[in-house]
């Protein structure tokens, strides 16, 4: 029973891995970035657990900076992911006027990744302005 469970887990893990291998590279980069941000936040939390939260605002800034940028990265990933049909359909209404104006609807249906990236950069800059202000 235990062996089969181990095998099943192994099989599950394996299938997950193979499924993930099919993910496009740019999404993998974003995933890696999220992991980087969250683990940095985790290290800071660990530091606080060890030592104490004395400069509490600094601690908050550090952790929130990481969490915030991770969330923004996740948002970026949602927008960039081509398989997110639902997200695209929603956007369709926004672009309807462009469809009416005769531009190829098919081409516009893909949200430009660059636009999402610009949002990501802008949001990160605003976030870090606040973070730096709060850092003290």
């Amino acid at each position: 029973m235990a062996r089969s469970t181990g095998k099943d887990a192994q099989a599950l893990f394996h299938s997950l891995r193979s499924a993930y291998a099919a993910t496009p590279t740019n999404l993998k980069i974003i995933d890696l970035y999220v992991v980087f941000a969250v683990s940095t936040a985790f290290i800071q939390v660990a530091y606080m657990a060890f030592v104490g939260s004395f400069p509490f605002n600094s601690f908050l800034s550090g952790v929130l900076s990481c969490i915030g940028t991770a969330v923004l990265a996740v948002c970026l990933r949602i927008q960039v992911n081509k398989e997110n049909k639902e997200f695209k359909l929603k956007l369709e209404s926004i672009y309807r006027h462009k469809v009416l104006s005769g531009i190829s609807a098919d081409a516009e249906r893909d949200l430009p990744a660059e636009r999402a990236f610009a949002d990501f950069v802008l949001c990160n800059l605003v976030l870090h302005l606040v973070i730096i202000n709060f850092l003290g």
Binding site: V35, T40, A46, V51, F54, A107, R115, A118, I132
Partner: protein
Amino acid sequence: MAARNLSGFLVLVLVIAICEAAFVFHPITDAHRSAALDLFTPLDGSFSSLEEAYEALRSFEILGIDKKPDIRSTTCHSVLETLGSSSSSPKDLYHALRVNGILKCEVKEELFEGIVLSLKAIVSSASSLLEFYYSIGSLALIKDQSSNANVLLSDAAGVFRSIKALSQSDGRWRYGSNNPESSTSAAGLAFKALAGVIALASSEIDQAMLGTLKNDISKLFDSVEKYDDGAFYFDEKVVEAHEHQGPLSTTASVVRGITALADVTSGNIKLPGDKILGLAKFFLGIGVPGDTKDFFNQIDSLASLENNRVSVPLILSLPATVLSLSKKDQLKVKVNTVLGSNSPPLTVKLVRASRSGSKDGSIIESQDLKFDKESDSHFLDLPKTVDVGKFVFVFEVVLHDSELEKVYATGGQTQVPVFITGFIKVENAEIAVLDSDLGSVESLKKLDFAGESIVLLSANHLQKLRLSFQLTTPLGLAFKPHQLVEKLVRLQVFLKLRHETKVDHIFVVGNSGKKFEILLDFLGLVEKFYYLSGSYDIELTVGDTVMENSFLKAIGKIELDLPEAPEKAPRPPLQPVDPYSRYGPKAEISHIFRAPEKRPPKELSLAFLGLTFVPLVGFLIGLLCLGVNFKNFPSSAVPATFAILFHLGIAAVLLLYVLFWLKLDLFTTLKVLGFLGAFLLFVGHRILSHLASSSAKLKSA
């Protein structure tokens, strides 16, 4: 309490000492000269009135001050103005002429002649004493200042009689015929005016009239008042509030009058020598007045006394009335005139010297003092038999030229109190603790006052403390209080016990024959000591005016063991707060700051700093594993430039954030961020739209 009594007593002793010092009169010294320069200071180059100008100039002249303020031009100007004006009163003319007498302004002879005519008219019609005084005084001044003016009075006898008519039977004068009150200073003015009349008389004044005048003077001197120290002075009997003149100005007025009179009658009027000397002492006894009027009155009167032709007072003074035996001081005596100039050749005789307040015979009798030309003083070595104490020395001045004795007033014998001080030896000093019931000595210690050693004793309330010592004078006699009893100046011997809590008790050490001894029975003193056990400091004070080595010495400590205080025992008094402590520094205010938070060790924090870089490194390694490349980087020039600028812009914003963290404030940061943001927006839009279009093309293709 006891301490306050003691200090009050010492003040009293000092006051008495100062009062007695005033018995010795000193002639005018440089103190007066510097005071004159301070007092008489002209405002803007001139004095407010000619009267003040005269007082200043005359004082400078008498004191022989050369460095006087230059007021000649302005003062002469107002002198000429006053003399030239027809509306000037005799008083104004009098002051102007007096100033002119000193400054010698250039006054034309015709001016004098006009003034003389109007003054003579005033003299013949005058009814009040002041009119006579000022007009006759002015005429007498013109007589000295002008060679041509005919100032002589044809009806001198008539004027003399009209002034004399104002005199009273007691020698005083009235200011006018309709003013019934008589005044002493008016008498002085009258004498001065009469002296002027005699000087201005064209014919000799009748001797009978002068005889009545002599009578007036002697009557006036009957009313002279006397101080204990031998000073004579005149004072007004009736004090009028609006015109009160103090003894100083009254006496000055009389002195000026009688000396002027004595001068013009050239010896016909005799003045009693001792009274003249007494008047001189009165003026010298004031010291240095702080008021210009008083100063002038003092100096001017002394000058008239010094320069009169009848009797010049000679003042005998001692530079020091405290003579030290241990320093072998000489007895020094100076004899000067009142203004400090040298006396004629004379011998000072010490008639006798006796202990003050005792009936024992004199210690020195009839000794002549030797004269020392260099210091211009007479001196005498004190004989060996003189012991410490307070003495009265009686001096007599004998002039070498017996003819001069008529001219100088020496005042017979002069008594001067003299202190002779010396080193008093303390002998056989011992302190002992005795048992109360038997009186047996428990512990006895010798005291040595020369050294610094202190004794340590201990006692309980059933024991007694005894302190005894002897004082011997330089001659080897016992130094006893009764030798010195003179009013309140006496030997002071006190024993002070001071507890650790600063509560102190003072005891007067009694004298029994040869010995000073005090016996403290602690049983009777327990309540006085407030039942305070513990260590007491013992201090001994021995002092006297003639004791050169008066001392206050800590002689030791005594450990007292007193019984417990009962319920109702009096509490020790609170120590008085030092009044000066109010002005002292206040206690420092310490500010309380929040204690800094506990910081972790530095290594731990640095380790975690390193740890936070681990995910970054992992991220970079992950990127390499994924095979990230820059192939998508635009290859053509313009988009590449925009791409680089875009990345530089982001880097610049991040750098700005770092600067904001380190030193900039929010407003500066936002301003710069505004520019950077606009730039970033522009280049970002260009590069990203370029990328979007190229990827769209790729897709469509």
